[in-house]
């Protein structure tokens, strides 16, 4: 009897917190998405009206929402492969040697991941500034006219994504490094005895053994990029003209700046469903893959 109570006791505190601050809010959002709640309604619940699917209809006919969806998709397509490939590449190189120099380098690659977003905003804002920023100054030294890093609608997407990629590689490099250290040495030695080159070994043996790590990093990175918020929020506030507005930023702006909570909740539910569906597809495909 004692044993059967134990597991519940162990998982209870964390589970309650996660349910209360994770699952419950999304249920609340679902509920609110069927209402017209705004700031007045927030203060006085009697002012809220049930409006059915109106918010969803309005959402899917809202050009800015579609723009945000397109942007989020584009960001994910640019960002996810970049982060994964960069992290894997750097981890493979870092794993080449265990010397102190190589180990010291790890900290440098981790720095972006530990810097608070408010600090990042300051620094990158100065670097990117069209008139007075360092990048354009360096370009001017080689005769290139100033680039509007954050003001040109197409370029701004790239600039903002670059900061996020820069930030996102740190943790993943560490994860891949760790996975690499788990690769049994015997396999590598056997391959080199057989005459395989370093590169060949890496491609044919090491990477397949990293399947789980790659899968884990892919899922978490995709989820992170679908929730892309910090960088556009601090660097461009979603501009110019909505070019860098992601869905989470759109939700934040409608929810907090415009106080249309019902509408924003509908958007949140849609985003959550997108993330869930994408994740489930990945999980299913892996299961199919493993079963083979």
């Amino acid at each position: 009897m004692k044993i059967r109570l134990a597991p519940y006791a162990f998982i209870a505190p964390a589970s309650i917190l996660l349910l209360a601050f994770g699952v419950l809010p999304i249920l609340v959002a679902l509920l609110v998405s069927f209402t017209d709640m705004n700031l007045a309604g927030l203060g006085n619940w009697s002012r809220i009206q049930f409006i059915g699917f109106d918010n969803y209809v309005e959402l899917f006919t809202d050009a800015s929402f579609w723009q945000a969806l397109m942007n989020t998709g584009l960001f994910a397509v640019i960002g996810v492969p970049s982060v994964i490939l960069l992290s894997l590449g750097v981890a493979l190189l870092l794993n080449h040697s265990n010397s102190r120099f190589f180990r010291a380098l790890r900290s440098f690659y981790f720095v972006p991941a530990i810097t608070a977003i408010v600090a990042i905003a300051l620094v990158w804002g100065y670097l990117y500034n069209t008139q007075f920023g360092l990048f354009n100054h360096l370009l001017s030294l080689v005769g290139v006219p100033p680039v509007q890093w954050l003001s040109d609608p197409a370029l701004a997407k790239f600039s903002v994504a670059l900061v996020a990629i820069w930030r996102g590689t740190g943790l993943n490099i560490i994860i891949f490094l760790a996975a690499l250290q788990g690769v049994p040495k015997e396999y590598l030695e056997a391959a080199s005895l057989d005459g395989a080159s370093r590169i060949r070994t890496t491609i044919s043996i090491t990477i397949p053994l990293l399947r789980f790590a790659i899968f884990f990093v892919t899922i978490t990175t995709i989820i992170a990029w679908l929730q892309f918020f910090d960088e556009p929020f601090v660097l461009t506030k979603g501009g110019p003209l909505g070019a860098t507005t992601s869905v989470p930023l759109f939700l934040y702006q409608t929810g907090f700046s415009s106080s249309q909570f019902g509408y924003a909740s509908a958007g949140s539910v849609v985003l959550f469903l997108i993330i869930a569906i994408v994740t489930v597809i990945q999980l299913r495909s892996r299961r199919a893959d493993v079963d083979q």
Partner: protein
């Protein structure tokens, strides 16, 4: 680990080292820019063309942070939030243990819900979470600030992954010896979990240290603001003093870097042993 240390580094190693070194400098460049900017006098920081190395370095802005602005208080609050988060660490370890080493009704669905929380965008949770905290009378308290992010699905997942690799025989043996479940957790499971604990300490420290959103919303009183909020406060519509802002940002980053450098070895080990093969 088997490469002989006595051998001189071969050509590929030097090449790779140089390449990585250059990459590391590029990656860390914004950080270096920030640190250098924090000691530039104001006139140099707004000068154009920008200089990389300050000509007349000064620490006056760091001093200003602590004397004129409230950064010593923000620092204390941030440390407090981090410490409270460490309690969350224990809770997550417990949950990871429970999910990995026990069979019980509802285990799969509950763990699934845990994973779901990783997919929920934070903008969704802000208002309902605030309402919950308000109902519990935890607004304007440090606990209220730390509570919403005390536990994360990601970390519970990591703990569970790791703990599945702990040999069940050891746990069974302890049970046969008559040890209670709680004792087993503390005296058998936790010591064996040192690598993953190291990872989580670093991750928890980072997120607690950088916490911005909740301190801002929950604290009615600027006396509860954390460092992140302090840095944001310096961001007025017209940036008047970049050096001061850089000093504040540097103050935020340097301690984490130190923590990471110290724990770095364990972090890599920890992820490795957590079964991420």
């Amino acid at each position: 680990m088997s490469t002989s240390e006595l051998r001189r580094p071969k050509a590929p190693t030097i090449l790779i080292g140089a390449f990585l070194g250059a990459g590391a400098l590029v990656t860390a460049f914004p950080f270096l820019w920030m640190v250098l900017g924090s000691v530039k006098p104001r006139s140099e920081s707004v000068a154009y063309p920008p200089s990389i190395i300050p000509e007349q370095p000064t620490f006056e802005y760091f001093v200003q942070l602590f004397e004129e602005l409230e950064f010593s208080r923000y620092l204390i609050n941030t440390i407090a939030v981090v410490l409270i988060s460490m309690v969350g660490l224990i809770l997550m370890a417990m949950a990871g243990y429970g999910f990995s080493k026990f069979e019980f009704r509802g285990r799969e669905p509950l763990f699934f819900l845990v994973l779901i929380t990783m997919m929920i965008p934070i903008q969704v949770t802000m208002i309902p979470t605030y309402l919950i905290l308000n109902g519990m009378r935890l607004t304007n308290t440090l606990i209220g600030i730390a509570l919403p992010t005390l536990v994360t699905g990601f970390s519970v997942f990591l703990f569970r992954q790791f703990m599945t690799t702990i040999p069940t025989e050891m746990i069974e043996a302890a049970r046969i010896d008559g040890a209670g479940e709680w004792r087993i957790f503390w005296q058998v499971v936790m010591p064996m979990s040192k690598p993953i604990l190291a990872v989580q300490v670093v991750l928890t420290f980072i997120s607690g240290w950088n916490s911005f959103l909740w301190p801002l919303i929950i604290a009615n009183d600027e006396r509860l603001y954390t460092l992140s909020v302090g840095v944001a406060l310096l961001n007025q519509q017209i940036a008047t003093n970049p050096s001061l802002q850089m000093a504040a940002a540097t103050l935020m980053v340097v301690p984490i870097l130190v923590v990471f450098i110290v724990f770095q070895r364990f972090v890599v080990q920890g992820f490795a042993l957590s079964g991420l093969k």
